[in-house]
């Protein structure tokens, strides 16, 4: 274990209904790093992220967080149901629920803090709008603000740029880069977008045919390496 690691997986297998999608995972995430988690559809990226986030239990092995590590989870925005009539502010406010006890009202200090998180993600102007009526990029900013409101120092993002246009993708990646640099956050992000990854992350975890490959972005996302792994030829 590295002294600076925030998270360590020891012999972890992840999956559903006792069926392992990935097994024998041994790796750590360095505190203050920006790591991209890559892989084909069905390779187990989201399952691994959810297991790290504590949403599901590992089938075997253990996941150890080296404190203090407060998690901020940013789910795929489409899994949030539009039947709920929440404003963007109310969605972001959920981030403070972890430290406001059951049955207790959320105070003005927490509300101010959530406004500040919305401001930091450039979404304070959206506070009064209905979450279900926002664009994909706007929703993503609000969900990142919600994760910040949880006073997270470790952000876990599940495909934050899936299904949004190029301009919004660039804007979200710039926001994440700024948060990473200015607030010294640790970020683990599942993403399909190789180009966006290459310009943003420092380290890459690549789930390839059931094996976890790990390396710095300059090494693992080299053109020759990608061609070798995907067995394709870029023209």
């Amino acid at each position: 274990m590295s002294e600076t690691s925030i998270l360590e997986l020891r012999g972890v297998a992840v999956g559903y209904d006792r069926h392992a999608v990935l097994s024998g995972l041994d790796f750590s995430i360095t505190r203050g790093s920006f790591t991209g988690l890559l892989g084909a559809n069905g390779s187990g990226k989201t399952t691994l992220l959810k297991t790290i986030a504590g949403i599901q239990r590992p089938l075997t092995g253990e996941i150890v967080f080296h404190p203090p590590a407060a998690l901020g989870y940013v789910p795929q925005r489409d899994q949030l149901d539009s039947v709920f009539i929440f404003t963007a502010f109310e969605v972001a406010l959920m981030g403070v629920c972890g430290r406001v006890g059951p049955g207790r009202r959320i105070g003005s200090a927490e509300r101010d803090e959530v406004h500040e998180c919305l401001r930091r993600t450039g979404s304070d102007g959206l506070a009064k709008r209905l979450f279900s009526e926002l664009s994909g990029g706007q929703k993503q900013r609000v969900l990142i603000a919600r994760a910040l409101a949880a006073q997270a120092d470790f952000l876990l993002l599940d495909e934050p740029t899936a299904g949004i246009d190029a301009a919004a993708t660039r804007s979200i990646m710039e926001l994440l880069t700024a948060l990473y640099r200015e607030q010294r956050l640790t970020i683990l992000m599942v993403n399909h977008d190789l180009a966006a990854m290459r310009n943003t992350v420092s380290e890459v975890l690549w789930l390839h045919e059931g094996v976890l490959l790990r390396g710095p972005v300059g090494e693992l996302l080299r053109r020759e390496k990608i061609e070798e792994l995907l067995k394709i030829q870029f023209t």
């Binding site: 986030a53 949030l80 709920f84 109310e90």
Partner: protein, 291 residues
């Protein structure tokens, strides 16, 4: 004015009060069924609850329970109703988590089975036939002081818990995964919410029957969903529509000399159809945004 004096006369006023209570509490709890897209469950639960009452009365026929006084009989009926409702909620939820694809089919099957079992339990039970039909038709016209007090206490507890823990119930309903990452015990909160749903459905079915319970659980929240612009408006509007619908239905039924329960539901249904039609019409005439 004369109508008000008549329906608030001593022999009827308990029925009005219990209608208003159901009009307030069922939409409050039903709003969670709508938000969690469990509308089918809202239809099936009153039927399952009725089956529980039929089962409780069948215990007399099978000589497993002695003949009881009226208050004990009501307690037995509530026990059957509550056990069946909560049991069905737990089983259907566990199956939903494990095999999500067949959820509607399972709820439909539970509805049909419970309807059939209610009839079979009833047809072989002359004592239960008498007692059950009274209950299932909905005794809105004959509510004793004891019935009113018990219903009021149970519903007050439901409203209190639902209000105090509203933040937690909304969080685990909207984003259970996020709630888990915040170290919330999602299963426990779901369990508490289902307990509230179970108590509400059981009390309401016992008092006004499955049809009216279903109507008040779902139609007011659907009306509110069409009008509200935030979650507070959604809940408040649902309760207001439920209370106004219950009172309006009672007055209308009294004036027309028709059963109260079906009148309540028909009135709520008419309001819902009007609101949805007006909204649909307004959408048609709204200028489309330029791309």
């Amino acid at each position: 004015m004369e109508l008000l004096q008549e329906i608030f006369a001593p022999e009827l006023r308990n029925s009005v009060y219990v209608s208003l209570l159901i009009g307030f509490v069922c939409p409050l709890i039903g709003s969670f069924l709508v938000l969690r897209r469990l509308v089918f469950l809202g239809v099936a639960l009153p039927q399952i609850s009725s089956c529980g009452i039929a089962f409780a009365f069948a215990l007399h026929a099978w000589h497993l329970v002695p003949h009881l006084e009226d208050s004990s009989e009501r307690a037995l009926a509530f026990g059957g109703s509550f056990a069946f409702t909560l049991g069905a909620l737990v089983i259907l939820t566990l199956l939903q988590r494990r095999y999500p694809g067949l959820s509607e089919a399972r709820i439909g099957t539970a509805y049909a089975l419970c309807g059939a079992w209610s009839i079979l339990l009833l047809v072989k039970n002359p004592y239960g036939q008498h007692g059950l039909l009274e209950r299932l038709r909905g005794e809105i016209i004959a509510i004793s002081d004891l019935d009113l007090t018990v219903t009021a206490i149970a519903f007050a507890a439901v409203v209190l818990v639902a209000t105090i823990f509203r933040k937690e119930f909304l969080l685990v309903s909207f984003d259970p995964e996020m709630a888990l990452t915040l170290r919330k015990k999602v299963l426990s909160w779901d369990g508490l919410l289902f307990l509230l749903i179970g108590i509400t459905v059981s009390m309401a079915v016992l008092t006004v029957g499955p049809l009216v319970t279903f109507g008040f659980l779902l139609i007011p929240p659907l009306v509110a969903r069409a009008l509200a612009r935030n979650m507070t408006q959604f809940v408040v509007l649902g309760c207001v529509v439920g209370v106004v619908g219950a009172f309006g239905g009672f007055c209308l039924a009294y004036r027309l000399d028709v059963p109260v329960g079906p009148t309540d539901v028909a009135l709520l249904g008419a309001v819902y159809i009007i609101i949805v039609s007006v909204r649909g019409g307004l959408r048609l005439f709204r200028p489309r945004a330029r791309v």
